[in-house]
Amino acid sequence: MIVAGCDVGSLTAKAVILGDDRVLAVRIGKVKSRPEISAREIMEEALKDAGLRMKDIECSIGTGYGGKQVPFAGEAVSEIACHARGALWLLPSVRTVIDIGGQDCKVMKLDRDGRIVRFATNDKCAAGTGRFMEVMARVLNVGLDELGDLSGRAKKQLNLASTCTVWAQAEVIQKINEGERVEDIGGAVNNAMANRIVILANTVGVENDVCMTGGVSKNKGVVKGLERLLDIRVKKLRLDPQAVGALGAAVIAGERRKGGGEQ
């Protein structure tokens, strides 16, 4: 049975194809001008990797910011449900899923049966979302993917006093002007991000095992900061953490096809 999930976020589109509960293809790409174009293109790429065609897919589900615009999806399912389902599929012992996207952050708590018992989300404030990291990477003149490694090279502990992205940006500029090293400032940025997520995570209560999904989970500095602040270990996933939402969508598509597994 071939099923697919497509997650169209604010910045990236993701497609996952499952064949008999095995991952056949995973694709992540930048979003295009419109969500439906992003969805179709990323799915075509995934299909090509798997040596399949669109008509081979028996059921597909869309999710994410543009989830309702996925033209080939039979249904759109919430990101919360998809991220939780994807994380659970990869790590059956997972109880807490922290998903940090390009412009939101979600923390979901699952029970032993994998049902979502609590969740908290922030999409109102850019602080604590990928957007915060984007703004800071731009000010520090480093790539978004380089920001995480700065923490490891930091020698001096710096702090950002502001929560607000706008004020924190001004603080970062001030620190640059004061001659602070980019590595040290980057470390402070990653810690500030971790601090913000901890506040959200604590509203649902973090329980082991914990995993992270979304682009920011590739940032080692933020992950280390979270592990330290929450006194936990973030479990590694065997799939690109950015594709977990799409994976969850595909898993749910499989369950729909079988006629069960209501999430």
């Binding site: 109102k124 404030c125 850019a126 957007r131 607000c164």
Partner: protein, 265 residues
């Protein structure tokens, strides 16, 4: 007896000179680099307008974000206290003061004597502060000063759904790219900002008679109109520059302190 008030904000420095309860002169300028230098410069400008020098000042009070860096200040007071004092002098019937500065916003409730009864304050989030408008003016490639007039020409304000400055910036750009008129977007921004400030005002329990706005943002006619709509009141017209309100309060407090130190007459 000459006294002075100096308000060093995040963006502008203000100084006023009082003699026996009357305002002699004032000056307002941008803070270019260091707050201590700005304080000296703005005070000297205000003094020279009144043909005075710092030696003539019996007592001076500092306030604002940079109040601890004013080298000549005899004493400092919080902006809340100074805005309350200033507002009461400007308009004795005022009970609610809404001060929106470059990096913060405050709502202050006063009693009949001009004493602060309650206040709410936001400096944590850039939304609802002057910075919000600055960033939006930049994004729209228009001047901050023209936003007010521009928005009053709008008859179809666009609803801005983002609260966060960072998200609103993106939203605004896509609205303009999607063909919305700039005046309608600006009008929508003023409504959104007024909504944020109104939540502070509700927090203090607004007293309708009278409500006044202070700070640089109070000069924006679009914001004033949006505030009136959202609060359902008419904002009081005031006799002096609303941006000087904090410095006026500081000068009045300086007058009180000087009066205690060496009784007038």
């Amino acid at each position: 007896m000459i006294v002075a008030g100096c308000d060093i904000g995040s963006l502008t420095a203000k100084a006023v000179i009082f003699k026996d309860g009357e305002m002699l002169s004032s000056h307002l300028m941008k803070v270019r680099s260091r707050p201590d230098e700005a304080a000296v410069e703005v005070m000297n400008e205000a003094l020279s307008k009144a043909n005075l020098t710092l030696k003539d000042v019996v007592y001076s009070v500092g306030t604002g974000y940079g109040r601890k860096r004013i080298p000549f200040a005899d004493e400092t007071f919080s902006e809340i206290v100074c805005h309350g004092k200033g507002a009461h002098w400007v308009l004795p019937s005022v009970r609610t003061v809404i001060d929106v500065g470059g990096q913060d916003a405050k709502a202050i409730r006063l009693d009949a004597g001009g004493n602060v009864v309650k206040y709410e304050y936001n400096d944590k989030c850039a939304s609802g502060t002057g910075r919000f408008l600055e960033i939006m003016a930049d994004a729209l490639e228009i001047e901050l000063e023209e936003m007010g007039d521009l928005s009053l020409k709008s008859d179809a304000p666009v609803r801005i759904s983002s609260q966060c400055v960072v998200f609103a910036e993106t939203e605004v750009i896509s609205l303009v790219n999607g063909g919305k008129e700039i005046r309608d977007v600006v009008s929508g921004l003023h409504k959104a900002m007024a909504g944020r400030i109104a939540s502070l005002v509700r927090g203090i329990g607004m007293l309708e008679k009278e409500v006044m706005m202070a700070g640089g943002v109070a000069k924006n006619k679009g914001i004033r109109s949006a505030m009136e709509d959202v609060l359902g009141v008419e904002l009081a017209a005031v006799k002096c520059d609303p941006q000087l309100n904090g410095a006026i309060g500081a000068a009045l407090l300086a007058g009180e302190a000087a009066g205690k130190k060496q009784p007038a007459g």
